[in-house]
């Protein structure tokens, strides 16, 4: 039983691509056959985050338009055998994708993979709606700040109306992944609390990923954080989230504020 999962957010820069790579790698590390599909045609990034940018020959647009066969465009990860990438085209724009073409590619991918993880572009236009169109599961990525939460709410509304499952009246699994969470800023009241975000969005929580240099380093090295530094708190959050996606009753660990002696004495922010 293959599952199509869209990673989406509405707002840009919240960590969709990083989360797609980390969750996809975590699912593959758990033994699943996973393909990551980059829908951000024209602004592709997923290949960089996976360190596959120098191996791209054909892309999603080529496959949708019939210029290349699917196996020619799939790139196999060198670290995890069961992880593949279907890259986006950098030179085309999102109008090159059609619902029928995407449906065909997704159907072909469903035969080969357990998980088809679609990295949605930001925004609510064609690219984002096509990325979510055929999804069975949605991971809504949001930062704990008002603009991101409102955009996430908008996207949830679209998931409930624009996807094939919604149109057929079938249930669509929705999960919330909170990223770039900073416990120190939450403590100072500069960032929304996890409970407040949950209260507004009202969908189940998949995980809370702390803002951390581990994530940035991993991205810059072209390696998902779950592979690069599995012991880091961010990687742990993604690994637990992947277990939840696989149906396990894994806990959600929330980042906690670590305070050193000096900060306890002087009330200053400590390195989280």
């Amino acid at each position: 039983m293959s599952k199509v999962m869209v990673v989406t957010s509405g707002k840009g820069g919240v960590g969709k691509t990083t989360s797609t790579a980390a969750l996809g790698a975590a699912l593959a590390q758990a033994g699943q056959n996973v393909v990551l599909v980059d829908f951000d045609v024209g602004l592709r990034n997923l290949d960089l985050i996976l360190g596959a940018e120098r191996r791209v020959v054909f892309d999603l647009v080529n496959v949708v338009q019939g210029d290349a066969k699917l196996p020619q465009a799939l790139i196999r990860d060198k670290r995890v055998e069961s992880l593949y990438l279907l890259p986006a085209s950098q030179t085309r724009d999102k109008d090159a994708l059609t619902p029928e073409g995407v449906e065909g590619v997704i159907a072909e991918l469903r035969e080969r993979f357990d998980w088809i993880v679609c990295d949605s572009p930001a925004g609510i236009e064609k690219g984002a709606t096509l990325a979510m169109r055929f999804a069975d599961v949605a991971v809504v990525v949001a930062n704990p700040e008002v603009s991101s939460v409102r955009d996430a709410d908008r996207i949830i509304g679209m998931l409930d109306s624009k996807t094939l499952r919604a149109e057929r009246g079938e249930p669509l699994e929705k999960h919330l992944l909170i990223t770039r969470h900073d416990p120190a800023r939450v403590a100072r009241g500069e960032m929304m609390k996890v409970e407040d975000v949950l209260e507004i969005l009202a969908i189940p929580l998949l995980g809370v990923v702390a803002e951390s240099p581990d994530v940035l380093t991993a991205s810059n090295l072209g390696c998902p954080v779950t592979l690069h530094n599995p012991a880091s708190p961010a990687a742990r959050a993604y690994l637990l989230a992947a277990r939840k996606l696989l149906g396990e009753d894994a806990p959600v660990e929330q980042p906690v504020l670590k305070r050193g002696l000096m900060s306890r004495l002087f009330g200053r922010k400590a390195a989280a």
Partner: protein
């Protein structure tokens, strides 16, 4: 010229053929029950027999005798049915009655059964949204009240002809009374709205005090001004 005059058609009677659809009714015994059904049907769809020629099929009622058939035909006529023909009965049955001159051998073929139009469902009096209204969604219901079980998100709007009831938090816009006018009200479980309006009056969040924020609130129109009051 004379030849031409001979070939032109003579002036005189002009006849044209035209086909109509007649409704064939087949009364059944007992007649009292059948008339009760007919009356019920006529109440639901008064126009069913309007301006339609009606042919009465007496095949199931002729056996009841001449009196019964005469009562039946009179009963149909008083209900406004325009009877143009009879079938299924021996013409001698009606000898002497004024129905006698109606044709009993009309030609025609049956078409599909005419269904009386289904009774119109009663118009929706209120609309229930069984969940949250998400940012960017717009719920418009001009003929009555809207009830939202969840929250109305920031950037969402709810527009009702009547009143608006929000059981969760109202964080977006609510405009009530589009049709009902000043009598409409807005109720919310938690007041965090961006804008509220009734009829043509509206207020944005900066125009009401922080004291109402987060509390259950009712909004109504009172002598040309919006009044917000806490419900707790």
């Amino acid at each position: 010229m004379t030849l031409h005059a001979q070939t032109s058609p003579p002036p005189g009677l002009q006849l044209r053929g035209r086909s109509f659809m007649a409704l064939v009714v087949t009364p059944e015994v007992p007649l009292a029950a059948w008339f009760a059904d007919l009356d019920a049907q006529l109440r639901n769809a008064a126009g069913l027999f309007a301006d339609r020629p009606v042919v009465v099929d007496l095949s199931r009622t002729a056996g009841e005798g001449r009196e019964a058939v005469l009562i039946l035909l009179d009963g149909l006529e008083t209900r406004g049915l325009r009877i143009v023909g009879l079938e299924g009965a021996d013409p001698s049955l009606l000898a002497g009655a004024h129905w006698e001159r109606l044709p009993t051998q009309l030609h025609g073929r049956d078409v599909a059964e005419v269904r009386s139009p289904a009774p119109k469902p009663a118009p929706e009096a209120s609309r229930l949204i069984d969940g949250p209204v998400r940012s960017g969604q717009s719920v418009v219901f001009e003929t009555g009240d809207i009830t939202v079980i969840g929250a109305v998100a920031s950037g969402a709007e709810v527009i009702a002809g009547g009143s608006i009831h929000v059981y969760g938090a109202l964080r977006g816009r609510a405009i009530a009374g589009v049709r009902l006018g000043a009598a409409a009200r807005i109720f919310c479980g938690r007041m965090e709205a961006e804008m509220v309006g009734i009829e043509r009056l509206y207020r944005t969040a900066e125009n009401w005090g922080a004291s109402l924020h987060g509390r259950p609130v009712q909004i109504r129109s009172d002598r040309g001004a919006l009044r917000l009051s806490a419900l707790d």
